[in-house]
Amino acid sequence: MRLEPIAAPTLARRLGFPAAALALTILVASLLALTAGANPFATLGLILEGAAGSRFAALETLNRATPLIFTGLAISVAFRAKLWNIGAEAQLYAGAIVTVLLGTGLVPWPLVLPVTALVAMLAGALVLLGPVLLKTRLGVDEVVTTLLLNFVMLLFVSYLLEGPMKDPGGMGWPKSSPLLPEARLPRIVEGLRLHWGFLLALLAAVAVWVIQTRTTLGYEIRAVGQNPRAARFAGVPVNAVLVKTALLSGGLAALAGFSEVAGLKGHLSLDLSPGFGYTGIIVAMLAMLNPLAVIPSALFVAGVFVGSDSMSRAAGVPTYIADILLATALLFMVLAILLTRVRVVRG
């Protein structure tokens, strides 16, 4: 058996395989529900209802999608350049720390939100700068360094929350002081639990898309990612491009932290991110690294999580089904994407 590339995939092929992947994912989820002793149709219905069945559910899904759009974008930018940033989690927390530092009185009102956002991005960028310099200067594998920095950062946040940044009025809980009201991202519509972070995320997706398709930097990033050898031969400054990519990627991941603290939580705690940095990898891969496709991809992933939580409460099926659903969706989708481009031939 070998794989033969297809010059021009037909529309049927490009839609058929992803659709089949979705169907297979649903089939696997149904089997899981069956083994948990529940009616698969009811379970899937409950997930759908919990994700989008009411205004509250839909807003909850949008809220959950917001940080995932940011981390998904961060990953897709980096992976385009074949820079394997597994450290979006650490960059997210760097952004969150800055948001608390600047949002608790350090920067005055009209400036606080834009300045905080920018400095948060800078902090996230700096967290990724170390690993990428180690990569370009010494050839250290960034998968290892970025991954391990996640744990360093979590321990650092833990130290901050137990020490210098601990909320004096927090009754001993490891959390930071709350942001001042003017440092919070306002609700988009008063009374609805959806903040400006979501619109900022949509804006970021469009901005990244413009950068990738319209700017010289975007061309360089794609060239370095697709064939660093040819890029270097043609005079693309490969290392400089990797550094710029890292700054952009780290900055985007940090915006997830900024948006979660300033938009949703209002303070920093150790449970700020239930792995948004890692889930961003799934989001980016499902979107085939396309920045605009990151939006629906993040909505899908967020919907599965939110819907499964709600389904779990109603049907008694463990919420782990969400993780399995996403994992199977990713596996089938990656296979489907491959099969839209190649055909399997015998001999």
Binding site: T216, Y219, A230, F233, G235, V236, P237
Partner: protein, 526 residues
């Protein structure tokens, strides 16, 4: 199977029973829309050398891969020594006495010659394995067939010619009665080629039969009894070598008469780039440059002959800006270069045609447009203040496609869909359109069909006539001799003196390629 036992098997004494040792009957193979082999039949007689001729992509290698069981034919059958060969089974082909020497060697560098030859016949750790007996047999085979190689040497330390001999020994050790050689001379010096032909003649005298795949016509004329010509997957001609000549064969291969590009006498101008006492570090087994001095003059093609891996890569990297010399100096005109980089080389007006157009010259999943501006994406009109101007890029690409007759679906098509020739034409357009002063052409026609070869060579000659200084690097000595005004030979990182066009015969150049000319120079100097 041992050599003693082979005599006892009636199938392997075909001289009496089966004068036709191999018969391919209407072999057909399709790859998607491409008909790679269209009902090809051929017969190989005992003690005969047949040449399989054809341009790249004509279906030669596909046919041999079917014969050897790497591919399964869609239709048709293979008969060896009167018995049908099961399709898709390389082991059966080996057992039937068919041995294949691939263009790219399949040897393990860290094992000795003996171990490499035994590899696959039995486990190297099997009890009672008698390496000594095997080595004796290998020594006997190399004596009988004139294949000089030390059985105890590590393959990693051998030259390309020696490695090829190991490949042939490997086939002979397995009692191959039919040898298939895929482009065996592509990597050899003329002397090594002659030695290979001696071996083949001995093999034929000992009763073996040989299929020789090549596109070098004069070699084919020298070694083959019969020529079979393939074109676009079809067998278009079959002639006895005695009854034909190179021109007739070439015409059959291409389907039309092809005249090689004419090279008028050069009118060399000033040196546009000079390398003075330049050295580069060795890269593992590949030697670096050893204090070479070279001027590239305007209006002149300087050909660099040599077996690959003798420093061509290092010189090519220097000229294309990928490397800087560890000692010595490069100067453009009379200005020594500082801050040497690919971008600096491009700005200095150096057109660079890289050796590997797939991996270095283009980005496979980029469109023609994105590839066409790869060297100048950061400059006006393609980029202004950090924003790409895709319209300008597309206009340039459309222009290149038209002027260089690139066959493609359009400027937005991914370049991986193009044939090698069209890909090379795009690279040619990319580097020649700005009107370069210096051109590095590293293996510019390797793997191309004759039409594309002629086109590339014509463009290079036209650029020379327009005053460009050209460095032509090739492993193909014929190409160097045909295209160069001045020839240098590179051997183990040393550069020979310049030889004028026609000053040295191929055999004399071959001696330099093997390093002997340098030794004479040294002894004369001493």
């Amino acid at each position: 199977m041992t050599s003693d036992a082979s005599g006892a098997q009636p199938d392997l004494r075909p001289d009496v029973l089966h004068p036709d040792v191999l018969h391919l009957d209407r072999i057909t193979k399709r790859f998607g829309p491409l008909l790679a082999n269209d009902a090809i039949s051929l017969t190989l007689k005992q003690g005969e050398v047949i040449a399989l001729l054809g341009e790249n992509g004509a279906g030669k290698t596909t046919l041999m891969n079917i014969l050897f069981g790497h591919y399964t034919a869609d239709a048709g059958s293979v008969t060896a020594f009167g018995k049908p060969l099961p399709p898709g089974n390389p082991r059966a082909a080996l057992a039937a006495g068919i041995g294949m020497v691939h263009q790219h060697f399949t040897l393990a560098d860290n094992l000795t010659v003996t171990e490499n030859i035994l590899l696959g016949t039995r486990s190297l750790w099997s009890p009672g394995l008698n390496l000594g007996a095997a080595a004796d047999r290998i020594a006997a085979l190399s004596r009988d067939f004139g294949l000089a190689v030390n059985p105890a040497a590590r393959v990693g330390a051998l030259s390309v010619g020696e490695r090829q001999r190991v490949e042939i020994l490997k086939a002979l050790y397995r009692d191959a009665r039919i040898l298939i050689l895929d482009e065996p001379t592509a990597v050899l010096t003329p002397q090594e080629t002659e030695a290979l032909f001696q071996t083949l003649r001995r093999a034929v005298a000992l009763g073996l039969s040989i299929v020789f795949i090549s596109h070098k016509l004069h070699e084919v004329m020298g070694v083959a009894d019969r020529c079979l010509v393939l074109r676009h997957g079809k067998l278009v001609g079959e002639v006895a070598t005695a009854n034909t000549d190179r021109h007739a064969l070439a015409a059959m291969m291409v389907g039309a008469e092809i005249a090689p590009p004419a090279l008028s006498p050069a009118t060399p101008g000033p040196a546009l780039i000079r390398f003075a006492n330049v050295s580069t570090p060795d890269q593992g087994a590949v030697p670096g440059l050893k204090r070479i001095t070279l001027d590239l003059r305007a209006g002149q093609i300087t050909g660099l002959a040599g077996v690959s891996g003798n420093g061509q890569g290092a010189l090519s990297d220097l000229l294309s800006g990928l490397a800087v010399p560890s000692s010595g100096e490069i100067s453009l005109g009379s200005t020594p270069v500082t801050n040497w980089s690919p971008r600096a080389a491009i700005h200095a007006g150096i057109a660079r045609i890289p050796e590997d157009r797939h991996k270095t010259g283009t980005i496979a999943d980029f469109s023609l447009t994105e590839n066409a501006i790869l060297e100048r994406y950061g400059e006006a009109p393609y980029s202004r203040k950090g924003w790409m101007n895709w319209r300008a890029a597309r206009d340039f690409t459309t222009h290149v496609i038209a002027t260089h007759d690139i066959r493609c679906p359009g400027p937005e098509a991914r370049i991986r869909l193009l044939s090698g020739g069209n890909m090379q034409k795009l690279i040619l357009g990319r580097v020649l359109e700005p009107g370069p002063k210096i051109i590095l052409a590293n293996q510019p026609v390797r793997g191309l069909d004759i039409g594309a070869i002629t086109y590339v060579q014509k463009r290079l000659i036209a650029a020379r006539d327009a005053g460009a200084a050209i460095l032509l690097i090739s492993e193909d000595l014929d190409e160097i001799i045909e295209m160069s005004d001045l020839i240098h030979v590179l051997s183990a990182g040393r550069l020979s003196p310049a030889f004028a066009r026609g000053e040295k015969t191929p055999a004399e150049l071959g001696l330099w390629m093997a390093g002997q000319g340098f030794d004479m120079e040294t002894s004369r100097a001493a």
